[in-house]
């Protein structure tokens, strides 16, 4: 980040800076979250940079443009998509600018990459920022030339006079532009005139990811830092009864052996850290520790027992979701022609990003600086300030590239560990988790159970549909919301009415909370990843009981939702659904809306031995305006791969507080030779942009299992399953 932006800049300072060195124009606005009534402010006119001001654009007198990206990039492409929204309206190309990730300062507002919300919430605010700056630059040029604004236009970092060859660069205009009032409602471009949005432009950070120069948290080196490897308890909540660090401290390179803690939102656990002048020395030192652990009551955790509790909970109706409640299911069930019931179980899962959790932290003199792969630097500022008892303005976060995250790196236990250690030794500390730490310590996606019940009339029409969600609540465990007499409002995602607009005359969704001490957290597509397995598998079961084609059955139930219908029709066309069916091929389909986008898959399988072979996956996504179609396709492929892995490869099981899996040998993920061919179609759309990073995942498992049923006659209701032996 430019030094100019980090200090408190007064109006007087600004003039001085403008006159002497680099003039800069910083534009901010309020009301980030909803994107409505965006008010643009010019920092140059503010007496001080206030906390509610959000500067995203810097231009210096040499014409260098810096754009701030307040959505960390974990692979989903926000280091392109977010600044591109500004650049489109500002009339600069992304290869002309520098892109800087925001540092957690309050002036940037929310900075969380999560919930597939980056583009959908930034679309209008970021364009407005770019448009306002452009209008000021054009006005400055018009003033300079003594011509009306209408005689000028901006292009690729310069303002031109129409029909003339003269032009001025943004750097030449910035000082005078900064003195102009900020337009309160700048005119946004007509989408037909977009030169960047909607084009599959290359991502600017890609070259750095093929030559080894991209900096991940793992690559941070701070002078004087020590490396820490932490002996976490074998059972997640155990305490350190006693430890002997003599052998470790005698090991070459080891500087400190310290008892430490792991602070999670719902619990704090104990651990022992070895700090050394190299990571290998720290890791070797850790292996020499002699620790006696003491199990706690919280360690009486057992996933098998947990799932039994879920089955028990599923017998009672749970707290109903009022918004989706339609008619009276019990009455309809009582008079049903055909009653169908089934339960679907999804396991605990680790996120397993390729880059294990790591953080470099320096606590000194009441201030703290962090260099780490984190999904939300602003929430980390709050968490660290609270944890250390520091003022928020004394917390600075340098966000690196994230080597994958999938939700995991929005949970900052590993950063707090490094802070706790740095504070004790007054030196920068780099904590690096091992793969075993990552696999075993959690947080995990919570295991869930969907208890489904449906009623069909004599014509095979659905008369009633019930979906009982049973399981742990992220809102309850991580955010400490009691939920004593209400369903978890977050947990209904993917099956609430807007997400699942099937027209059932009687419908009921409910939630029964089963608490666990096993650390849980959102995992790519969160509850949609678990709920849709039950929802879309059961829709398929109903279709078969109604003796209807599953595609036709869905089209009938979704007739009032044109975007869903269009996606399904396109999917049928893309996959040659009718021809494949006529040839007797097993094509399973599923459709899901999550994070404001609709995605449907058609998965073709063939019987092979006792199992099936996945031949091909066809996908259609409607995510509204497509910012970068190629990147959207890549995200859908990514979700298919992760969704298949979750369906057929891995699960986390816990026995007496101990996670049974530890590394990629027993927590396997799909590899190159195991991937089916995928074909993705992105629907052209002018609707408001929806999410892209997650919506491709929820329909994967049900589409696959629906195909497995067609190929084998066997209905898979528990994940993961062995695809070679169904």
């Amino acid at each position: 980040m430019s030094a100019n932006t980090t200090k408190q800049t007064s109006r007087r300072d600004f003039i001085k800076i403008s006159a002497q060195t680099a003039a800069f124009l910083a534009i901010g606005f309020e009301n980030l979250a909803n994107g409505k009534g965006v008010k643009v402010r010019n920092l140059a006119h503010e007496p001080h940079i206030g906390v509610e001001i959000n500067p995203y654009v810097l231009i210096n007198e040499s014409g260098k443009v810096t754009l701030f990206n307040a959505r960390p990039d974990m692979g989903q492409g926000t280091s392109q998509s977010i600044p591109m929204l500004i650049a489109e309206e500002l009339e600069v190309r992304l290869d002309q600018v520098e892109i800087v990730t925001s540092d957690g300062s309050a002036k940037f507002g929310s900075q969380l990459s999560g919930g597939s919300s980056s583009v959908s919430t930034r679309y209008l605010p970021m364009r407005t920022v770019g448009a306002a700056v452009k209008e000021m630059l054009v006005q400055a040029a018009a003033n300079h030339w003594h011509v009306p604004v209408s005689a000028c236009y901006a292009k690729e970092g310069r303002v031109y006079q129409k029909n003339k060859t003269i032009s001025l660069g943004y750097g030449e205009l910035v000082a005078s532009a900064a003195k102009l009032p900020v337009p309160s409602s700048p005119v946004l471009k007509n989408p037909a005139d977009f030169t960047q949005i909607g084009k599959s432009l290359p991502r600017p950070e890609i070259p750095s990811k093929v030559n080894g120069t991209a900096k991940f948290g793992m690559d941070v080196v701070i002078p004087g830092m020590l490396y820490a490897s932490i002996a976490h308890a074998p059972s997640i909540h155990a305490k350190v009864k006693s430890y002997h660090g003599e052998k470790a401290i005698a090991s070459p390179g080891v500087k400190f052996v310290l008892k430490t803690e792991r602070k999670m939102p719902h619990a704090s656990t104990e651990a022992v850290a070895v700090l050394a002048d190299s990571y290998w020395a720290a890791l070797k030192g850790k292996r020499l520790l002699d620790i006696e652990w003491e199990s706690t009551e919280a360690d009486a955790m057992n996933t098998e027992k947990y799932f039994n509790q879920l089955k028990e909970a599923g017998k009672s109706p749970g707290f109903e979701y009022k918004e989706s409640l339609t008619g009276d299911v019990n009455k309809a069930f009582a008079g049903a022609n055909q009653l169908i019931e089934a339960s679907y179980q999804t396991p605990f899962l680790a996120h397993a990003p390729m880059e294990p959790e790591n953080a470099t932290v320096y606590v000194q003199d009441g201030k703290v600086e962090v260099w780490a792969p984190v999904q939300g630097p602003d929430s980390l500022v709050t968490e660290l300030a609270t944890y250390l008892g520091f003022k928020k303005e004394h917390v600075k976060i340098n966000v690196t590239f994230l080597g994958g995250a999938f939700g995991r790196k929005a949970y900052y236990d590993y950063v707090l560990e490094a802070a706790h250690l740095s504070k004790q030794i007054n030196a920068p500390v780099k904590v690096i988790w091992t793969r075993e730490d990552d696999t075993q310590q959690g947080p995990f996606r919570p295991g869930m159970l969907s208890v489904m019940k449906g009623a069909l009339d004599a014509q095979g029409k659905v008369q009633a549909f019930e979906h009982r969600l049973n399981g742990a609540s992220i809102l309850n465990q991580v955010f400490q919301v009691p939920l004593d007499n209400a369903p978890d409002p977050w947990a209904e995602e993917g099956i609430n009415l807007p997400d699942s607009p099937y027209t059932f005359p009687n419908r009921r969704n409910s939630f029964s909370l089963v608490k666990t001490k096993i650390p849980i957290l959102w995992w790519r597509s969160v509850y949609a990843s678990t709920n849709l397995f039950g929802q879309e598998s059961f829709i398929d079961e109903l279709a078969h009981h109604a003796k209807k084609d599953p595609l036709a059955f869905r089209l009938e139930l979704l007739a009032g939702s044109p975007r869903f219908v269009e996606v399904l029709k396109k999917l049928a066309e893309l996959s040659n659904y009718q021809q494949l069916k006529a040839q007797g091929k097993a094509v399973g389909i599923a459709i899901a809306r999550s994070f404001s986008s609709i995605c449907a898959h058609a998965i073709v399988v063939e019987k092979q031995g006792n199992g099936v072979l996945i031949k091909k996956v066809y996908s259609v996504i409607d995510c509204g305006v497509a910012i970068n179609p190629r990147n959207i396709k890549a995200q859908v492929q990514s979700n298919i791969t992760m969704g298949l892995t979750a369906a057929i490869k891995n699960e986390i099981t816990v026995v007496n507080g101990q996670t049974q899996q530890s590394n990629f040998h027993d927590y396997a993920v799909l590899r190159q030779g195991e991937i089916p061919e995928m074909e993705v179609f992105v629907m052209p759309s002018s609707e408001a942009p929806g999410g892209v990073g997650e919506p491709g995942l929820p329909p994967v498992a049900p589409a696959l299992c629906n195909a497995v049923f067609l190929a084998t006659g066997k209905r898979v209701r528990t994940l993961p399953f062995d695809i070679s032996n169904v």
Partner: protein
């Protein structure tokens, strides 16, 4: 601690480390090149792949003591100095990386494959990359880029031989 001489990317380095130190940590912490990544520490994921005399190895489970001074080691930084290796160019053209963390290892494994097998089948690709995990699921785009790189390397060879 013992002294070792290793040749990485054509340059000699003298390091003083414990004999069991994995090559990965020598490259990252002693030599200071961070393009080679730590992923699993057990040779299961391939993020730490480097080339030893042209063959991909898992540097996280290769002790420094097993490296001879005359061995030629190539890390991602040494594949080309200007990001111009055909595999890197194909990776950029196909926009393969997502998070990018595994890609150094993937690219080196592919460079080694194409070196010994200029015209790999899909089956060859599956075998050569079986040890390299990509959690983002860039596998299909990688496969496309590998075929493209193979094609461009062949046309380069043709141009050279003309």
């Amino acid at each position: 601690m013992s002294k070792y001489s290793i040749k990485l990317n054509g340059k000699k380095h003298l390091v003083d480390v414990a004999s069991d130190t994995p090559l990965l940590w020598v490259i990252r912490d002693e030599i200071g090149m961070t393009g080679t990544k730590f992923g699993c520490g057990m040779g299961l994921c391939g993020a730490c792949t480097v080339l030893l005399n042209g063959h991909p190895i898992r540097s996280c489970s290769t002790p420094i003591s097993s490296i001879k001074p005359e061995d030629k080691l190539i890390s991602i930084e040494g594949l080309s100095t200007t990001t111009s290796h055909p595999v890197q160019l194909a990776w950029i053209k196909e926009q393969v990386p997502q998070c990018g963390y595994c890609q150094s290892g993937q690219i080196l494994a592919v460079a080694a494959l194409l070196d010994s097998n200029p015209n790999p089948t899909d089956q060859d690709i599956d075998t050569a990359l079986a040890g390299n995990i990509c959690r983002c699921g860039t596998y299909q785009d990688m496969r496309k880029a590998i075929h493209a790189a193979a094609k461009s390397m062949k046309s380069q060879t043709k141009t050279k031989s003309k």
